[in-house]
C-alpha cells in the first residue's frame, strides 16, 4: 500500500461514499455543540421535522456567552438568573431547551464538567486519536493534538451533522511543519505557533491540513500540542494534527470517556498505527528551528503580525509589497504604535490569561510561576480564567488561585471570557492588553480594544511589571 499521512489515514477510514465531481461523504465520530452556533441549526431541524440522528455522538456545553464571575463570590454553580444580559440568557436557555427536546447530552451551567468546548473534550477523554471531530467553532482544530481530524464548521453544517452524522467534504492538501531542536527556557508552544503564523502568513495554510512533527513537537505536553493545533486556523489551515504517541496515551489513560481495560489496550494498538508512514508525501513542507525561537508577541490586528519580543515593530515604509504595507499601516494606526520601536516597555492596561488557546492547567502553572511572590502592577487589571470548572478545581487544589489572588489578580469561573467579549468580559476602547488568546482582530476583545497576543509567561510577566516584558528577565 502507498505510504499515507496521518490525515490521509483518518480521511480514508471515514469516507462513507464519494461520487465523481462531488465532495466525499465524511462520517463524523464526535460532534461538539455550543450555544452560539447551534440555535439556527436546531431550528432548521424543527422546520424539516428531523431529529438528532445520533445524540450518542453529540455533546453540548455552554461557554461563549456565559459570564464569568470572581470564583470566591460563587460557591455554587451558575444559574440562568446569574446571566444579566437578556439575550445571552435566552441563548443559553435555548440550548438547554434544544438539548432536552432533541435528547442531546448537555454539560450545562450546573455541570462540574462545564467549560470551554475545546478544553472539556480532551479533559473528559471524548477526544481520541483517529477520530473525526467537528464543532461550530473554528478552534475545533485544537483536538488535532491527539491525532484526530478536527475542524470547525458553520451552522448549516452543524445542522447536517445533527441530522445525518456526516458532512460533505473535499479532501484538503497536506502540509508538514517540522520544528527541529529544543525550545530554550522561557519559550513555549504559544511562541512556536505565533512564529509559524508570522512566517507563513494568515492565509499561508488555506486549503491545507497541517501535521506538526519534529523533536520540539515530540517534547511538548498535550497542553502545548493543543495550543499549537488550536491556533492552526489562524494560518488559514482547516486543521492541525500531531501524531499520537506515549504522551497522548498517558494523558488519555483513565479519563472518563477513554476506553478501559482490554478495550484500552486494543485502542492503543490501533492508535499506534496512525502516525504518518515513512515515505508519505506532503503537498508542502515548512521547517523551523525551535532552538532559535524567542518569546513572540503581536503588534498588529491579525495573528500573523507577530515579532520576537526583543525585535522592533516593523516599519511599513520598509515593506516592498504595497498591499502588505497598507495592511501594516492600518494595523499600526488602530494599535497606535510607532514603527521601528520595540514593544518592550509599552504600558499595559489589562492582562488576560485564558481562552481555548491557553487556559489549561499547565498554562495556569506557567503564569503562576511568574506571579508567585510578586504583585500585579498598579493600574493593571489581570484576569485569570480557567478553561473549565475541572481546571479551576485542579488549580485551586494546587493553590494557584491563592498565588493569583495574593498578587491582586482576578480568579474567575470558567468560560470563553475576554477572548470573544460577548459575555461581559471585555476591553474598553483604547486599552492595551497582553492576552493569551488567539485573535487580535480589531475589536475582538472589546470595541476599540488593542490586543497583543503572547504566551502565559509573557502575559504574566507584563502583568507584574505593568509594561510589555520579556519573561526571561523574571524566570
Amino acid at each position: 500500500m502507498k505510504p499515507r499521512t496521518l490525515y490521509e489515514k483518518i480521511w480514508d477510514a471515514h469516507v462513507v461514499a464519494q461520487e465523481p465531481d462531488t465532495p466525499a461523504i465524511l462520517y463524523i465520530d464526535l460532534h461538539l455543540v455550543h450555544e452560539v452556533t447551534s440555535p439556527q441549526a436546531f431550528q432548521g431541524l424543527r422546520e424539516r421535522e428531523l431529529s438528532v440522528r445520533r445524540p450518542d455522538k453529540t455533546m453540548a456545553t455552554i461557554d461563549h456567552s456565559v459570564p464569568t464571575f470572581p470564583a470566591e463570590r460563587l460557591a455554587r454553580p451558575i444559574t440562568l438568573q446569574d446571566i444579566r444580559d437578556a439575550q445571552a440568557a435566552q441563548q443559553v436557555a435555548q440550548l438547554e431547551a434544544n438539548a432536552a427536546a432533541f435528547g442531546v447530552p448537555l454539560l450545562g451551567l450546573d455541570s462540574p464538567s462545564r467549560g470551554i468546548v475545546h478544553v472539556i473534550g480532551p479533559e473528559l477523554g471524548l477526544t481520541q486519536p483517529g477520530m473525526t471531530i467537528v464543532c461550530g467553532d473554528s478552534h475545533t482544530s485544537t483536538h488535532g493534538a491527539f491525532g484526530a481530524l478536527a475542524f470547525g464548521i458553520g451552522t448549516s453544517e452543524v445542522e447536517h451533522v445533527l441530522a445525518i452524522q456526516s458532512l460533505l467534504q473535499t479532501r484538503s492538501k497536506t502540509m508538514n511543519v517540522r520544528f527541529d531542536g529544543r525550545l530554550r527556557p522561557g519559550v513555549t508552544a504559544k511562541d512556536m505557533i505565533l512564529a509559524l503564523i508570522a512566517e507563513i502568513g494568515i492565509g499561508g495554510g488555506t486549503g491545507h491540513v497541517i501535521e506538526y512533527s519534529g523533536e520540539a513537537i515530540r517534547a511538548l505536553s498535550m497542553e502545548g500540542r493543543m495550543t499549537i493545533c488550536n491556533m492552526t486556523i489562524e494560518a488559514g489551515a482547516r486543521a492541525g494534527m500531531v501524531a499520537p504517541d506515549d504522551t497522548t496515551f498517558e494523558y488519555l489513560h483513565g479519563r472518563p470517556y477513554a476506553p478501559k481495560g482490554k478495550a484500552w489496550d486494543e485502542a492503543v494498538s490501533r492508535w499506534q498505527k496512525l502516525p504518518t508512514d515513512d515515505g508519505a508525501k506532503f503537498d508542502a513542507e515548512v521547517v523551523i528551528d525551535a532552538g532559535k525561537l524567542e518569546p513572540m508577541i503581536t503588534y498588529g490586528t491579525n495573528p500573523s503580525m507577530g515579532i520576537p519580543i526583543t525585535a522592533p515593530v516593523p516599519d511599513p515604509a520598509e515593506l516592498a509589497d504595497p498591499t502588505q504595507r497598507s495592511s501594516v499601516e492600518k494595523a499600526l494606526r488602530y494599535m497606535d504604535l510607532q514603527p521601528g520601536k520595540p514593544l518592550l516597555s509599552h504600558p499595559v492596561d489589562v492582562v488576560f490569561i485564558g481562552s481555548c488557546t491557553n487556559s489549561r492547567i499547565e498554562d495556569l502553572r506557567a503564569a503562576a510561576q511568574i506571579v508567585h511572590g510578586r504583585k500585579v502592577a498598579a493600574g493593571v487589571r489581570m484576569l485569570v480564567v480557567p478553561g473549565s470548572e475541572q481546571v479551576r478545581r485542579q488549580a485551586e487544589a494546587e493553590g494557584l488561585d491563592r498565588v493569583f489572588k495574593d498578587a491582586g489578580a482576578e480568579w474567575r469561573t470558567a468560560g470563553c471570557s475576554m477572548c470573544i467579549a460577548m459575555n461581559g468580559d471585555r476591553l474598553e476602547p483604547g486599552q492595551y492588553a497582553v492576552s493569551t488568546n488567539n485573535r487580535n482582530f480589531e475589536g475582538r476583545q472589546g470595541k476599540g480594544g488593542r490586543t497583543m497576543l503572547a504566551s502565559p509567561l509573557t502575559a504574566a510577566a507584563s502583568a507584574v511589571t505593568g509594561v510589555v516584558t520579556d519573561p526571561r528577565t523574571l524566570i
Binding site: 492565509g203 485573535r439 482582530f441
Partner: protein, 205 residues
C-alpha cells in the same frame, strides 16, 4: 435558497486585505438565536460611530452604494471564526457575490450554503477590476454562474473556479442536506461496520 444564475450589478469596493469575520460581524451580535436583522450588523464597527449613527466615511454609507449586490474586497476575505453569521449578514444586507483573490475555507463553505457566491480572481485580474472601477465607479460587473465567468466594466472576461457540486446547488437553489440524506442507507452500513469510539450518552455529567 434562491437559485443563483446570473448577476449584474454595480460594485462596492472595500480594498482591505484579510477582512476577518469579527469585522464582518462583531461577536456581540452573535447572541441572536435566529438570522433576522443580521444585515444591520454587517461591518458594524466600521459602519457605525460609537453613538450608533452611520459613519459617513465608510463606503457602505455613501448614497450611491445603496442597492449594490457585489462586494470587491482585498485578499483572503473571511478569515477567522466559523460563524455563519458572516454570510448571513452579507446576504441580509443585500450582497449576492464577493470578489477576492482568495477566501478562507470555512467562510467559503458557509457562503456557498447561503446563496452567496465567492468569486476568486487572479491578482492580475483583481488589479484590472480595481482600475476599471477607479475609472468608472458606477461600472457594472456581470457574473454568469453556469459559464463560470465574470465580466468587468472594461470588458475583460475571466473564468472563475467553483466545484461542480456547489455550482449545481446554487444554480438549482437546493441545499446539500437532501443529497446527504439520500445516502442514509450507506451511512447506516458504515456505522454497522465501525463501532463508535465514544458514546457521549454513556456518562451523564
Amino acid at each position: 435558497m434562491e437559485p443563483f444564475k446570473t448577476l449584474r450589478s454595480k460594485v462596492v469596493t472595500l480594498l482591505i486585505n484579510d477582512i476577518d469575520t469579527d469585522q464582518i460581524i462583531p461577536a456581540r451580535y452573535l447572541k441572536a438565536t435566529d438570522k433576522i436583522g443580521m444585515g444591520d450588523h454587517l461591518f458594524a464597527d466600521w459602519r457605525y460611530r460609537p453613538d450608533g449613527s452611520p459613519n459617513p466615511g465608510f463606503v457602505l454609507n455613501r448614497p450611491e452604494m445603496q442597492g449594490r449586490e457585489i462586494l470587491l474586497a482585498g485578499d483572503n476575505f473571511g478569515c477567522g471564526s466559523s460563524r455563519e453569521h458572516a454570510p448571513w449578514a452579507l446576504v441580509g444586507y443585500g450582497f449576492r457575490a464577493v470578489i477576492s483573490t482568495s477566501f478562507a475555507d470555512i467562510f467559503r463553505n458557509n457562503a456557498l450554503k447561503n446563496g452567496l457566491l465567492p468569486v476568486v480572481v487572479s491578482a492580475d485580474a483583481h488589479q484590472e477590476l480595481v482600475a476599471d472601477l477607479k475609472h468608472d465607479p458606477a461600472g457594472e460587473v456581470a457574473i454568469n454562474l453556469a459559464a463560470q465567468t465574470i465580466t468587468f466594466p472594461g470588458g475583460r472576461t475571466e473564468r472563475f473556479p467553483i466545484d461542480s457540486f456547489s455550482k449545481h446547488c446554487l444554480l438549482e437553489g437546493v441545499d446539500q442536506l437532501g443529497y446527504l440524506q439520500s445516502w442514509l442507507p450507506r451511512i447506516k452500513a458504515y456505522e454497522a461496520e465501525h463501532p463508535a469510539p465514544v458514546q457521549t450518552t454513556a456518562r451523564s455529567r
